[in-house]
Amino acid sequence: MNQPPTSTSHAALPPGAVPGQPGNPLAQRDERWQIRVRGLNKTFGPQHVLRGVDLDIERGRTNIIIGGSGQGKSVLMKHLMGLLHPDAGEIWVDGVDVVPFTAAEMSKLRRKFGMVFQYAALFDSMNVVENIAFPLIERYNLSRDEIMERVRDLLRRLDLAGVDGIEKKIPPELSGGQRKRVGLARALIDRPEILLYDEPTTGLDPVATKNVDEMIRQTADDFGVTSVVISHDMASTFRIADRISMLHGGKIVVTGTPQEVLASRHSALREFVETSGLVAPEEGGQT
């Protein structure tokens, strides 16, 4: 297992540098980039989903990964959290390559992460309080009062405390937006450094979508977490993103601030942006 050196660096991997070897700038805790992915490859049978993904996730910012359906966004996100193992490539989290991690090391690493699933993935057999408290119950030996205090604090901060009888409700009794918020509360309860959102606005009406966008933005500001959101909702993306990366054909083809991405001439990105109605279509886009 690689250990992060004490010094910090803002440098990107220089041309020709070999990742994983002494002097590799990726093997240092970087104040700007929290997660750095290099050459990530993943195949499922004959399907080559990720074909050498290079991606940098900015610390404390809202990083959005966009891309069409079936491009491997969820697969990439599951790699970030160690739910899938790559065929090749490196994933550096705070200057440590986590790909060679053992199951025990990976379990420890996952405490840095919180994940908000597409449809919240709340446990059907538990009520709202039990769902939110689940990570605390599993990981620590806290008293019931301590757990309830943290759960109620989160319910208050995520505007759920006002919902009548919310604590005892079970997931099927919640609306789509409430489910997302409870899912977010569960992801936040153990104070993660990195929060992953898997298509958080899928299946929501425009008003609920706007609310979830505000929730993501607010969470990033209030809790100071690094947010990684995968989405194909361009309106949402440009509302909340600090940094956008586009996954296309198994690779990150465009990355940068929203302004830089809007100015990109990449054909797949132009098509994506133009069909979303954010900008008017233009003639002769380049790749």
């Binding site: 599951k78 959290m81 739910l83 990976m106 379990s107 420890k108 996952r110 405490r111 992460f113 919180g114 994940m115 699933f117 597409q118 449809y119 993935a121 709340l122 446990f123 059907d124 689940f134 990570p135 599993e138 990981r139």
Partner: protein, 282 residues
Amino acid sequence: MTTSSSADNPPEIPKIERRLRGALEYLIAPGTIILDYFGVRAIMLGSATAALFRRPFRLRLFLEQMEFVGVGSLPIILLVGFFSGAVSAQQAINALRIFNQERFVGATVGISLAQELAPVFTGLMITARAGSGMATELGSMRITEQIDALSTFAVDPIQYLVTPRLVATTLIMPIMTMVFNIVGLVGAYLFSIYFEHVDLGQFTEQFTYWTDPKDYMIGACKALVFGVTLSVAACYQGFNVRGGAKEVGRATTSAVVSGSVSILVSDYFLIDAFHILWPYKS
């Protein structure tokens, strides 16, 4: 017309080699399918068993599953047990009456219930009720990403979901088998004495003479094995669902079919093994 260069194409395999490879694959296919079928289930059984001895120990989950498998299945076990005993007695009396030996009905039903009917019928009932429930629940958890969510909280899904179901089913099966035996005997007794007017003394005397504790031991051992096979079949099917609601339905059907078949097939081999260990009384 395709005009790709030879560099793009993989090197061509000679025809004879292709045919030999095809023939070999055809010959070993059944073997690999069988090995794969048992292998993946054996891996799940091994992982779930290993997880039993690792912290944390979640007693609540074990008790919940015991309640689901045991208490939940009790009404159907009582119902099926009673009528299985009564029907067995009816068939035995019909056959024994030919030789004027109805008095042996207690012994006949007692042994067949203890060694065969109780463990097998209990296994089938629990497969149908609890096994299908396990496959559906785990399948639904899989497609709604609840199992992935467990992993994100550094909780081993096998330890959290499969181990309690495996242990609960394995422990509950012998108990339910004993319950089946008792109500089955009650059914046989009531039918024989009140409907067929078999002599009460002869019924009980033949039953106590011919039926041994080892018959119940055999039944309990079989029930333990059936508990393992049916719970592994159900958990494997549910845990590995991919897709949507349709696949959950398919997994449930497969769980019941594979659980039932595994009970009936293993029963054949188990009874042989037990009769070598404990031969019939002659």
